[in-house]
């Protein structure tokens, strides 16, 4: 450690300290008694903003959910509707028509 060099540095810092002291704000006892009203107001403002945003988000989510959920009765295909006529009823008409009606008459079999 070189004391001479330290002294030079010390002088520099002392000059800076003097300059800072001149520009320092004056001591005010109210500084340590001041209420933190402004800060709490700012804090509450932030909270109000956050809560409002969260509420808007929730409302929009609920609305979106309601509009996007389909009604099952209208949304299901007609496949699940109960048939009103007997099963394979339409096939009876086909069975009545002979399958060999295009054959010549001498080849047509007539069963007794």
């Amino acid at each position: 450690m070189n004391p001479e060099n330290d002294n030079e540095l010390k002088q520099r810092f002392t000059a800076q300290r003097r300059a800072d002291t001149e520009q320092a704000p004056a001591w005010n006892p109210r500084l340590i008694e001041a209420p933190i009203k402004e800060q709490s107001f700012h804090f509450s403002k932030v909270w109000v903003m956050a809560v409002t945003t969260a509420a808007c988000l929730m409302v929009s989510l609920v609305l979106f959910h309601q509009t996007s959920t389909p009604d099952l009765v209208t949304a299901l295909p007609s496949l699940f509707e109960t048939p009103t006529e007997p099963l394979f009823a339409s096939l009876d008409d086909l069975a009545a028509v002979p399958s060999d009606f295009l054959l010549p008459s001498h080849l047509t079999l007539n069963l007794p």
Binding site: L9, R12, F13, A19, P25, W27, I32
Partner: protein
């Protein structure tokens, strides 16, 4: 608040401002904000001296921590989201020093501040605490929350580097 604490704060007020000024890189308006916020912490009971260290080193630790909080808040405000939010809430404020204040700064003082700003933060801090605030290396280690050995190392390196910077700055001017 106790009368004794209030008296101690009053006697340390200018030194505390000097320390806040150093923690804020010479920005007067920010230093005033930081010091006021530190006082508010005391007034609100969010900081209390336990008696484990001297009042001065404890108080300087509080100021340093408050300055770091302020720095983080400033960075947040400078971010895009922060800008939008603070524009919306109308709480934006200019933290730059006024031109008149900058002119008021003595050239020699400004030169020292410029050289200090070129040092690593820890080195600049320990030099400020020792030469400006007249703290011992042990007290500086308490404020900086690092070991005495590290403080000594930062102190020696910082002094050497600061001398070099000041010499080169003087050579450049002449």
């Amino acid at each position: 608040m106790e009368r004794e604490t209030a008296d101690q704060l009053e006697s340390l007020h200018t030194d505390a401002f000097g320390w806040a000024l150093h923690c804020c890189g010479g920005d007067h308006s920010r230093a005033e904000d930081v010091l006021q916020n530190a006082y508010l912490k005391l007034a609100a009971g969010r900081a209390a001296h336990s008696g484990l260290s001297s009042f001065k080193t404890w108080w300087f630790g509080v100021i340093k921590f408050t300055a770091q909080e302020e720095f983080r808040r400033l960075r947040y405000r400078e971010s895009l989201l922060g800008k939008l939010l603070f524009q919306f809430s109308g709480d934006s404020q200019d933290t730059r020093p006024s031109p008149s204040r900058q002119i008021e700064l003595d050239e020699r003082t400004q030169e020292l501040r410029d050289c200090l700003s070129q040092l690593p933060a820890r080195q600049a801090e320990v030099l400020h605490l020792v030469f400006y605030q007249d703290l011992t290396l042990n007290e500086a280690s308490e404020v900086m929350k690092i070991s005495l050995g590290s403080v000594r190392q930062h102190y020696d390196r910082g002094k050497t580097r600061l001398r070099t910077l000041l010499t080169s700055s003087a050579d450049y001017e002449s």
